[in-house]
Amino acid sequence: MYLNPKIEQRVVQAILWVFTLATVFILFFIIFYILHKGLPVLSYNFLTTNPLDMGKSGGIYSTIIGTIALTIMSLLIATPLGVGTAIYLTEYTRESRITRVIRFGSECLSGIPSIIFGLFGFILFVTKLKMGWSILSGGLTLAFMLLPTIIRTSEEAIKSVPYNLHEVSYSLGSTQWQTVTKVVLPSALPGILTGVILSVGRSVGETAAVIFTAGSALRMPTSLFSSSRTMAVHFFILAREGISMPNAYGTAAVLIITILIINIIAYRLMHKFIKKYS
């Protein structure tokens, strides 16, 4: 079929416009809808009192603490592992079979549905290693989920540090380790942080993997071995079991605001990073 190039251009443009609009519309619709339903429930009390009566009344304080604990736990494990792997892949080896296997493995890991991580974590950490439903089991499971993102973003950030900075560093008599820690990592830091912050967002919003491994206890967690309910899990349970729709939306509103803020920070950082090297 022959189309006048000008018309073709217009048609393609129009179609792309519609797609873009649809995406933006859906995003705004979700945010608007949830805030519309959830904001009226939000109050200082809602944020600072523990849930009562399965969450029918009271606030969401313990689930906020649970979310924070689990997120910190998962990042404490995933960040050093992920950044370490990225340093190894970019600075300490050449492209080889091993690096390809590691990259391939990490890509595969990122494609696995979170519920499978949940089951894996349940079998390995909760039952086999007898950690029970706990912040520890949940944190470890989440860490595995976050690893691919952290590895990939850190790798990109490290690779974008110009090679001549390595040369200068060596020419001043540094060892490889000094070059990595004093030049490469500081220069790559904003990029690495971006990946970590995006991971915070995923950690905060994750449900399936968490419910199987950290459980859903509403009590305030007291140690790494306490079971704990995150906001996302709380929302899921409130909504699915019809316990309290207003409280479910209230929780969702807090969740969505948190994730929005996290993404904005990540976006800002990314921008700063791009500016620095262009």
Binding site: S169, S171, G173
Partner: protein, 250 residues
């Protein structure tokens, strides 16, 4: 007195021979200029003197390079110590994307000098030696990339000066700078000569004539001619040198 003695130095990138049997002595506290057309091996030669070519795969070197009578390619030679002694200024100013302060003290930290007082003394001294102190003393925490190109190149020299090297290798240090900045860096080289032995690669013939005491002419991996700058520029012994200097080259 010669501080660097190069004997029968050849270098191969894989099968490609980039340096062919180079013999040359570099005098202490003098400026030696290396000239020659693009791709003739000037940078490669310079990078042999602080063993930067070690970073490249598949490089093979024969012959010997002695600095202060020590064979720097000997197995037991202290590589990090060598690079401390033989510093390099690159073509493009390349400060680290860190603060001015962190840039200058980088080498000190790397070599284990962490005492705040010593660092600050050396910081001031090395920035003064490149005449940058007055300009930056109030903004030592500013990112080094905010300086002008010429200031950045001075900063890079200060970063070297802080570790007190004996030899400065400069690979076209002015080629990214305008004529006025170039003149300033040349003045600086003239002063630095009192403390350091300087080897400079340059495409700018006038620059070589202006600043150096000795000149070497490279062509396709050969050191065609080496001698006092005045002799090379007024009565070259090799007709190929003459062709190059008079622009009849190629």
């Amino acid at each position: 007195m010669s501080i660097i003695e190069v004997n029968n130095l050849s270098l191969f990138y894989g099968n490609f021979q980039a340096l062919k049997n180079i013999n040359l002595n570099v005098e202490q506290q003098k400026i030696t200029a290396l000239i020659g057309p693009s791709g003739c091996g000037k940078s490669t030669f310079l990078r042999c003197l602080n063993r930067m070519n070690d970073l490249i795969d598949d490089v093979h070197i024969t012959g010997s390079v002695k600095i202060a009578s020590h064979d720097i390619y000997h197995n037991s030679f202290d590589l990090l110590g060598l690079r401390k002694k033989v510093g390099m200024v690159f073509q493009r100013p390349n400060p680290f994307p860190l603060s001015i302060y962190d840039n200058v003290v980088y080498g000190l930290r790397v070599h284990g000098i962490l005492d705040k007082k010593i660092m600050e003394e050396k910081l001031k001294w090395s920035l003064e030696s490149v005449h940058l102190w007055a300009e930056v003393k109030d903004k030592l925490d500013a990112n080094a990339l905010t300086l002008s190109g010429e200031q950045q190149q001075r900063l890079c020299i200060a970063r070297l000066a802080a570790v007190e090297p004996e030899v400065l290798l400069m690979d076209e240090p002015c080629s990214a700078l305008d004529p006025i900045s170039t003149a300033k860096i040349e003045d600086l080289m003239y002063e630095l000569k009192k403390q350091y032995t300087i080897i400079i690669v340059t495409h700018n013939m006038q620059q070589a004539a202006r600043v150096s005491e000795y000149t070497g002419y490279f062509l396709l991996g050969d050191l065609v001619e080496f001698g006092e700058t005045t002799q090379i520029f007024t009565s070259p012994k090799d007709s190929r040198t003459e062709d190059y200097l008079t622009g009849r080259f190629g």
